[in-house]
Amino acid sequence: MNFEQTPSFSTSSGINRRTVLASALGGLVGGTSLLPLHASAQTDDVKIGWIKPVTGPLASSFGPLYLAGQIAMDEINAAGGILGRKLVKVEVDDQANPSQSPIATRKLVDQGVKIIVGPIGSSQTLASLEVSTSAKVIQAAYATATEMGDGTRFPYHYQFNFTAAAQVYRHAELLQKRGIKKVGLLIEDSAAGVSMKDAMMKELPARGMQVVSEQIFPIKVADMTPFLRKLRSDGAEAIDAQVSNNVDITQMLVGLSRMNWKPLIVGHTGLLFAGTPGAIPDSARYNDVYAATFRSLTYTDTEQPPERVKAFCKKLLANDVSEALLGPAATTPFYDYLYALKYAVEKAKSWDSDQIKNALDTASAIDGLYGKMSFTKERHSAYDQSVVAMAVSNSMEEPLSKEYHGLFRRRAAGV
């Protein structure tokens, strides 16, 4: 190598040290984030790839969603690991950015990682799977899009959260029971939103309801009122909503309050968010708002949540998670994923991807946190609509809900 041709930091070249440092700053901020953060596995340990945003604007929101996976990993390791081998994380930062997710995935694949947790988000997951599928990496991301559970399309990806179709099944059931005929859709502009809208457009007409308006709003919208006004003027008697973050929940409730409109609302788990504290007037909260969630996270006067779920929630509450993020942290797929992995590896007695896949594809009743999990070669979604229920969003003040910081909610009657 000819070192003499290495550019020097001379003023005559028009570039000096300061310029280079200043110009490189942006690149450094992004670039370093792709380096593996934890890669200190012993030879006998099993590396678990952990695609997680450590930097970027979503790092603090998405961080707590990996807690469930950490709890499962700690439990499994404390019990001796899987086939006697401990699980160790190899964490890479994707900044929750779909353009970074494949790069982060490639980092893991290049290190020989064959099991991956994450990323979060449907767009990020699709981007990551472009890399991991061909490398035969067993992976579970947090993506609600129904096609993510399609085993023919993504043979090594498994879905442990309930799908858009399963959610909408319950939405429609509740709307039908309430005699609703005209429904307006309020959908966030995201891949998950598209998936939910597709499911709604199938399920609602199939049950004799008319979709009278579709309003798609940008995520973290500055004002939801225009969309709500359009829904009302188009004749919507009820709203089926895909609203997945606290800002949009807040703007939705504030907008409805401004319009003095209290329609029946069914929607995504995000409706369990309480909204930004102090931003929503008390009058804006009403009882006709229902969110799809795991049945085991709901209760009735006669039926309490399972003890295993309560114990898990207590572990989650022991961590410093903001109340707004507790619900999503409890329903992430990563706890179930690591236990399903344990089941499959122990059944196959192997860490080979294809053997793990075969064990999972023939599993019919793995004990999941929220119910029995089963897969087929074609269906890689662990849960169907039987584990989903509709919860009353505004039940946070009830004793059990209060004790668990809103993790448990009252189940909607009859659904």
Binding site: T19, A22, P57, S60, F217, K220, P226, Q251, S322
Partner: protein
């Protein structure tokens, strides 16, 4: 669509437009003596909203006192940015466009630090004293007094900025530096000092924007980028350097965005807004109120 709904959309549009206009004016304040577009301007608005939340909501400091503190702190951050990310680069003509990446890098650092300190949860900031978020019904018109306050503050603050430029020695010095940096220096004006002052004032104005916008938008570490983009669009339509142009363009863009929001998906809405920008620039390359970059010699 009902008249009431249409008027509500217009009210929303005017309010958002006023906020966009303020972002654009904050660009102008930093731009005039430097020819630098500060890519971190959106994050300075974000800092204004988050500091307002910290002081007003968390520390319960009175609004009037808190806003002074917020503007002072963000002004200091703007000044720091000017020193580390701009001053050294614009001094050398050979690579004076380095500010594009350096101010962008500064914005990335701000947003990452902000996210680590505050998280991305939205927070509540109280309305301007005397205003509320309660809905007022006036015939077919529905609005909140906070929305009215935002529009009035935008118009009044822009008038004040223009008055400073036209009627004070410092303002005239800024205009002189904007016209010809070297000639201004020969007349005893220190461009370096004016650059520092302008960056600090632009940051303070961005902070003011964040404080008055936050009760409606909610304070959050994620609001900066969107406002940066809209501020740029408004700047392009109104004409770079024209503050009244920014107000007119902001109100127009806000109304187009609001009214189109119920008919178009966000993707098509973005296309429409960019289409408006392109059409304006095709017809008037220097924006509606911009001036040709001609110099008399």
């Amino acid at each position: 669509m009902l008249l009431e709904d249409l008027l509500a959309l217009l009210t929303t549009g005017l309010t958002m437009g006023a906020i966009y206009a303020m972002v654009a004016v904050s660009f102008n304040i930093a731009y005039k003596p430097t020819n630098v577009f500060n890519m971190a301007q959106g994050e300075l608005v974000m800092l204004g909203s988050m500091f307002a939340w910290a002081l007003m909501t968390q520390k319960h400091i009175p609004w009037a006192l808190a806003i002074v503190g917020v503007m002072a702190v963000v002004a200091a951050i703007g000044l720091f940015e000017e020193r580390v990310a701009v001053a050294t680069l614009i001094r050398r003509p050979s690579h004076h466009h380095g500010w594009i990446i350096s101010t962008l890098a500064f914005s990335i650092i701000v947003i990452n630090v902000g996210d680590h300190v505050w998280g991305s949860d939205a927070q509540v900031v109280p309305p301007v004293p005397g205003a509320t978020l309660d809905t007022v019904q006036w015939g077919s018109l529905t609005f909140s007094t906070q929305q009215v306050a935002v529009i009035l503050i935008a118009a009044a603050s822009i008038a004040l900025v223009e008055w400073v430029y036209r009627h004070t020695l410092a303002g005239k010095a800024v205009l002189a530096v904007a016209e010809d940096r070297d000639a201004a220096r020969l007349n005893g004006i220190s461009p370096s000092r004016l650059t520092m002052t302008s960056f600090a004032l632009a940051a303070a104005y961005a902070a003011l924007t964040g404080v008055v916008a936050a009760p409606l938008l909610l304070a959050s570490t994620t609001i900066g980028l969107g406002l940066l983009v809209k501020g740029f669009m408004v700047l392009a339509i109104g004409g770079v350097g024209s503050n009244w142009g920014a107000l007119a363009a902001g109100l127009m863009l806000g109304c187009v965005e609001s009214i189109s929001s119920v008919q178009l998906t966000p993707g098509y809405r973005q296309l429409l807004l960019l289409g408006v920008v392109l059409v304006v620039l095709l017809v008037r390359p220097f924006g509606l109120f911009g001036r040709r970059g001609l110099r008399e010699v």
